[in-house]
Amino acid sequence: MKVLIVEDELALQAGIREFLISEKFVVEVASTYDEALDKALNYAYDCVLLDIMLPGGSGLDVLRAMRDNLIKSPVLILSAKDSVDDKVAGLEIGADDYLAKPFHFAELLARLKSIIRRNAQDGQHLLHYKNVSLDPELREVKIEGMPIILNRKEYDVLYYFMLRPNKLLEKSTLAETVWGNHADQADNLDFIYSQIKNLRKKLKTADATCDIQAVYGIGYKLV
């Protein structure tokens, strides 16, 4: 899958690039308005990550030019501005989603995958790990073909794990991405523990070959 990163902060651009490459994406980058316009209008991407404030112009204009030229590549706006107006404007012009900086890579990946999934023509979007399969479209989890019942939060937690099995997922990242912004100020993140415990129990009861492992003091990973 091919992704264009439009970001003028080179350090941030390099970080995203490195991360997406490690997630097996094919990545191209643009750091100015002209460069972004040139690449976005001439090549097809599975997704464009678009910063709004660019040297030489606004990311929103890049998006407008793409839509005017009937380029349907999905767009995920990344903005430090995080203002309601920008968000509304971006979504109105035809962006698929909006992510405020700073963000966790886990969240970027989840949003990116869901955008790509929504825009993919073929229905091949199931996530597999060991004997667990997860259908983001139907929000359905099956173990050995047998569906298991998860509540909303448990499903979301598992979805994040399934996106990047074997990778560490920090408690704070989980809290923020699954429970939302209000959770980042929670005085302790132990409440996640009980959710993970329930999820583990359900996975175990259904004879899943994978398990969620605690990394002490830091977070969890799906193994």
Partner: protein, 428 residues
């Protein structure tokens, strides 16, 4: 007690006019009396000449005039003629007057003359004169009347004229009280032809413009600083995420990195709160719609349900009636979320949250071990309770900023039955 400027000058006017009129009355009295005696004395001297002429013509008159008769004079022979006779001596005496049945003042001329034969005689002529005490009394009464009329007129004119003249000033005061910091156009300049008021108006307008400019640039600075911090924070956090991916890291190092990341995360949340504050102030939440608070509370409770369950908090809801108002939905969500977040965060474990919804108010109360908070400080930025490490101290400040947008809403804090109570209500 402060006195209105309309009446402020009055006491000076009353006293000054009293003194001026008293002095004037004294001078007037002296001058008039002088003139009156002068006239009377001239009359008496004239009478003396007439009497002496008459006596020359009819010497028998001397014998007839030894008592005061209708002519009001007496002539008496002089025993020893050594005295100087033709000197005029005036005096004032009280003499019984049958008409008034009391002593009345008389002007008396004592002098003397020589008759045709050269024999000396005393001559005493008297005439009724002005009753000084009556005159003084009359003068005082009329002056008092005049004084009252003048003072009343001045007070009257002052009251209406000053009231009218100071109208622009009162208007300026009223407009000033309606001025809200951060809204330069909330002060309306008052049009006045009076130079002083015009100056006052201009100075106030200038001052407000200056303050707003400073306030604006500070706001922009805050916003820009927060914006500029976002990218470096994002880069640092993402780099640390990479480090964490590195499996070769020892557990201690991993924990260190995670702690560093958490600190950065706190900075991010602080930054977000600051941006939220400046966004609220920058009218980015201007749109309004009918907001049903109950729905917002329900939604917020769902957001926090896991945290609430984890902390073993019992939520009691009393819905008397839905609180419906015209406001920005996002702001109301932030408002409720911040209040609920505090109610969860500063709760006991186990604890209670009581939410009461009425047609014109919404109350959220939580059990607390902290005791009453100081209501003067809790809504200030960066105010934190004693042992609070996880708060950025902006939650209630954001609540206050949101409520400042809606003049018909107020928040009240109280501590009752060991519960922290926050009530958002409509002003009647």
């Amino acid at each position: 007690m402060a006195i209105s400027i309309k009446n402020y000058t009055n006491r000076f006017i009353v006293v000054t006019i009293l003194i001026v009129m008293a002095l004037w009355a004294a001078m007037f009295y002296a001058v008039i009396m002088e003139e009156v005696y002068d006239n009377i004395d001239d009359g008496l001297k004239n009478q003396k000449i007439l009497i002496i002429r008459e006596v020359y013509r009819k010497p028998e008159l001397i014998a007839e005039s030894t008592e005061f008769g209708v002519n009001q004079f007496v002539i008496r022979p002089v025993e020893n003629a050594t005295e100087v006779l033709d000197e005029n001596v005036f005096s004032k005496e009280l003499i019984y007057m049958p008409y008034d049945k009391e002593e009345e003042p008389y002007r008396i001329l004592r002098t003397g003359f020589y008759d045709a034969t050269g024999k000396p005689y005393y001559l005493e002529i008297r005439t009724s004169t002005v009753e000084e005490d009556d005159f003084l009394m009359d003068l005082a009464i009329s002056l008092l009347a005049l004084y009252s009329v003048i003072v009343l007129s001045i007070l009257f004119i002052n009251y209406f004229m000053m009231g009218h003249a100071w109208k622009p000033f009162n208007q300026i005061l009223k407009n000033l009280s309606q001025y809200r910091f951060g809204k330069a156009d909330s002060f309306v300049a008052v049009d006045s032809q009076v130079r002083e008021f015009k100056d006052l108006n201009n100075h106030i307008s200038d001052m407000i413009q200056q303050n707003e400019k400073v306030f604006d640039s500070q706001k922009r600075f805050l916003e820009n600083a927060a914006h500029e911090l976002q990218t470096p924070l994002a880069v640092s956090i993402n780099k640390l995420e990479f480090v964490l991916e590195n499996a070769s890291l020892s557990e201690e190092d991993m924990i260190r990195v995670v702690e560093a990341k958490r600190s950065l995360q706190r900075m991010v949340s602080l930054n977000k709160s600051l941006l939220t504050l400046s966004r609220i102030n920058n009218q980015q939440y201007a749109s309004q719609e009918e907001v049903h608070m109950q729905a917002i509370v329900d939604h917020a409770l769902t957001d926090y349900e896991d945290l609430i369950a984890y902390k073993d908090i019992q939520v009691d809801q009393e819905i008397v009636s839905d609180f419906v108002l015209m406001a920005n939905r996002d702001l109301m969500q932030i408002l409720v979320s911040n209040l609920l977040s505090n109610a969860v965060k500063y709760n006991t474990q186990p604890g209670k949250i009581r939410i009461t919804m009425r047609a014109d108010s919404f109350t959220i109360a939580n059990t607390s071990a902290d005791g009453a908070l100081n209501p003067n400080y809790i809504f200030e930025r960066f105010y934190k309770g004693s042992q609070d490490h996880n708060s950025n101290g902006l939650g209630l400040s954001i609540v206050q900023t949101i409520l400042d947008k809606y003049s018909f809403l107020v928040i009240e804090y109280r501590y009752e039955n060991n519960m922290q109570v926050f009530e958002v209500k409509k002003l009647m």
